[in-house]
């Protein structure tokens, strides 16, 4: 803490880690309302319509990649809580790689989508806003993982100091769960 020393803080019954976790979960609750709004918009504007041009193969592929990245993120968090720095770094890197592959997949998806349903068409509006908002979160997640990786390489974090990796990994899981809903709503509805 670089803010002025907090004389009383230690006297409070809740440890700092608990306080951080609580605030972080509140942030995720708040974020989930944003995605819920986008999800509701999809059905409000387009019902359950889905254009045939949507590339199912690509959609499934990037979904699998993103879900796999949740596994590597989980391993990365677990290894730092056990103090295994090399594996922590390795899996953080893997998560970043998979996240980046996902983003490249979205870019291909967008390229194809522009031919068939650009943003100024009915389905394009919901498709680009949902995938765009989600991809923005993935991108920010990759940046945060990069920060964790950079600091981890310089010797930061350990079993007693795992909150930053934990927070970033939680964020990553959250973004993955959002995609599970968005994928279903965009690709799987009849």
């Amino acid at each position: 803490m670089s803010s002025p020393a907090h004389a009383n803080q230690a006297a409070h019954p809740y440890p700092r880690l608990y306080i951080n976790r609580l605030g972080f979960w509140l942030f995720l609750f708040s974020e989930s309302m944003l995605f819920a709004g986008l999800l509701a918009t999809r059905f409000y504007l387009q019902g359950i319509q889905r254009p045939a041009e949507l590339s199912q193969g690509l959609g499934l592929a990037i979904t699998v990649i993103l879900l796999l990245s949740s596994l590597t993120a989980y391993l990365s968090e677990t290894y730092i809580t056990y103090g295994d720095r090399p594996r922590f770094l390795r899996y953080t890197l893997w998560t970043m790689v998979l996240g980046t592959v996902f983003l490249v997949g979205v870019a291909f998806e967008w390229y194809a989508a522009f031919q068939h349903f650009p943003p100024w068409t009915p389905f394009g509006t919901v498709f680009f806003s949902m995938t765009g908002m989600h991809a923005f979160h993935v991108l920010s997640g990759v940046v945060l993982l990069g920060l964790i990786y950079y600091n981890g390489r310089r010797g930061a974090y350990g079993p007693q100091d795992a909150w930053p990796p934990e927070a970033v990994v939680k964020y990553w899981h959250f973004v993955d769960v959002v995609w599970v809903f968005f994928y279903a709503a965009l690709y799987l509805v009849v």
Partner: protein, 607 residues
């Protein structure tokens, strides 16, 4: 002032980077490099980031993310108010002063509107100018009503009232304040960029095609939304985790409960105003089709998303007013707060029900008729929990020994005014009546009675009540009382006739009306000028007392809650050691009891 200039400089660099990035991207995709509105959006988003980093996030916070040592914070004295200070008391004063200034400016705009409406026909303003003035007045006042009590008193008092030394996240707290000056700049910028004429609600299709100023409005709402969400996270976490030993939920002051309710609403629903603004910006700037039927959109969607936030937002404006009113009434009636648990349950009931009432703003918007009756029922249902809060206030006043100081007068006025505002709300929630009253001055009178009569009168009750604690000086009681009666009478003379005007068909948001209503409008305008003038007295009293008022004692009101147990103004970190809460905050009349003890021995945990 240096951090502010640094913030502005970094903001300018950020804006330039944003525009540069946009031009490169557009050229890459084979588009002409320059387009005004996307450039404004990019310049703002990058400029905002630059501003926040420059004003202090970089020096005191973000350097740590890159493994660099953070700079030590050394600012002292008045300069702290212009710096990234993490003390919740400094932040509370920053919020309070900035937002009260905005309140006065927006009130001045209303004076011009009333001047125009003094007689039928056009005199001072043409209708386009009137619309812009009205929109700026409404939007600014909404920001003030949403953020002032939460930002100023929520920050200043909640940590003290729960016995903590600061908020759970002091730096996040500073960050949420520094989002607000850009909002003020955007509102000024909107006026300079030709204004916006959409009202504070900014409905499409107009909002997606009108002047550049409307884009500033969208960005301002997005920004203050960020600030609210961060503030809400901070408040909830603080109250849950930082309460002093013995301060169980049943002993929490009712003001803190009201702020928790407010924070829950801000946390969950503010995302929707962000979404609504984002959709408009995408429609406008990137050609999306959310609200344009020609591109498959539906303008009614905007109203759903907008009101899903904006109806809960009226409780964001009202609940803290209730909290302050109940708090002040108990302390000044020298009686335990009547039905404390029911009052808290009432406020939480409002929080829950507020999620399912939004479409009563849309009875004539063309949504499915099946939704009319359900939303009418849920809306009328909300008077039940509100009634609990009222019963608590009345039960506390009943046979109390009322000490009619200025804060108490304002608190009683909250109850009086909100009763009128609440009862007229029942008419508006009734579908057939609303079809007649929609978009008339009846609505204007109703929401001024609730938001000004409840929220802003509550704010003034709070300002007078906590003025001695916050400034360490006493305000002039006689001027305070004169201000109260002046404001209270003028307020009622201004807004009560508007109900009648509305029933007789005077439309809101229009610069003109049928000549038959001229007489009453002249009356309303004159009363409004008197109301406006009352704030001169208020500002005089506040400024003079803050500079030269007599020194205030630690507990001038003889109140029991924690903030009155420490000196005025409170020292850094508030308490000499962790206080111990032993009893109810409102146990007046029970001899020998106290709410809390400041244990004399220093806490063993303090390093």
């Amino acid at each position: 002032m240096k951090p502010v200039f640094k913030g502005l400089a970094w903001g300018a660099i950020g804006a330039a980077l944003g525009v540069g990035l946009l031009v490169l991207l557009r050229l890459f995709f084979g588009l002409p490099g320059w387009k005004l509105e996307p450039a404004v959006v990019m310049a703002y988003l990058f400029g905002l980031s630059g501003w926040l980093l420059g004003v202090g996030v970089w020096d005191y916070w973000a350097r740590g993310w890159l493994g660099l040592p953070n700079r030590p914070y050394t600012t002292t004295g008045w300069r702290r108010y212009f710096d990234f200070d993490t003390d919740h008391k400094v932040i509370g004063i920053q919020y309070g002063v900035l937002l009260v200034a905005l309140f006065l400016i927006a009130g001045l705009l209303a004076m011009f509107m009333r001047y125009e409406l003094m007689q039928p026909g056009r005199d001072l303003l043409n209708s386009a100018q009137y619309n812009r003035l009205m929109s700026l007045h409404g939007t600014t006042m909404i920001f003030v009503a949403v953020a002032t009590i939460m930002g100023a008193f929520g920050n200043y008092l909640v940590p003290i009232m729960v016995g903590a030394d600061d908020m759970a996240y002091p730096r996040l707290n500073a960050l949420s304040f520094w989002f607000v000056p850009p909002v003020a700049l955007l509102l000024v910028g909107a006026a300079l960029a030709g204004g916006f004429d959409t009202g504070w609600t900014g409905y499409p299709p107009l909002a997606a095609v009108t002047k550049l100023g409307a884009l500033f409005y969208n960005l301002a709402f997005l920004t203050i939304g960020f600030s609210s969400i961060l503030g809400a996270i901070n408040i909830i976490t603080t109250v849950i985790t930082m309460r002093a030993p013995g301060l169980s939920w049943g002993r929490l002051p009712v003001f803190v409960w009201s702020i928790i309710g407010t924070a829950i609403l801000s946390l969950l629903f503010t995302q929707f105003i962000g979404l609504a603004m984002l959709m408009i910006i995408l429609d406008r700037v990137a050609g999306f089709g959310f609200f344009d039927p020609a591109r498959g959109g539906n303008p009614v969607l905007y109203q759903h998303v907008f009101w899903f936030y904006s109806h809960p937002a009226v409780y964001v404006m009202i609940l803290p007013g209730f909290g302050i009113a109940l708090e002040v009434i108990s302390h000044f009636a020298r009686k335990p707060l009547f039905a404390y648990r029911w009052a808290v349950a009432g406020m939480m009931g409002v929080v829950v029900l507020s999620a399912v009432v939004w479409a009563h703003h849309m009875f004539v918007a063309g949504m499915s008729e099946k939704l009319l009756i359900p939303f009418m029922v849920t809306t009328e249902l909300i008077s039940v929990p509100t009634g609990l809060v009222f019963l608590s206030a009345l039960g506390t006043i009943w046979r109390g020994k009322l000490n009619l100081k200025t804060p108490m007068l304002f608190a009683l006025a909250v109850i009086f005014n909100f009763l009128i505002g609440g009862i007229t709300g029942v008419f508006l929630s009734d579908v057939p009546v609303d079809m007649h009253l929609q978009d008339t001055y009846f609505v204007v009178a109703h929401f001024h009675y609730t938001i000004v009569g409840g929220g802003i009168f509550g704010l003034f009750a709070g300002i007078y009540y906590w003025f001695p604690k916050i400034t360490g000086r006493m305000y002039n009681e006689r001027l305070g009382k004169i201000h109260f009666w002046w404001m209270f009478i003028a307020f009622n003379l201004t807004f009560l006739p508007m109900f009648w005007l509305g029933i007789h068909g005077m439309n809101r948001r229009i610069a003109d009306y049928v000549p038959e209503l001229g007489g009453l409008n002249r009356w309303v305008s004159l009363a409004a000028f008197v109301l406006g003038a009352s704030f001169i007295l208020f500002v005089y009293n506040m400024v003079r007392s803050w500079v030269r008022g007599e020194k205030a004692a630690a507990n001038p009101w003889g109140a029991r809650t924690l903030e009155w147990l420490i000196p005025s103004p409170p020292p850094l970190h508030n308490f000499p050691s962790v206080p111990e809460v032993v009893d109810d905050p409102y146990g007046y009349g029970v001899p020998g009891t106290v709410h809390a003890r400041l244990s004399p021995s220093p806490s063993p945990a303090s390093d």
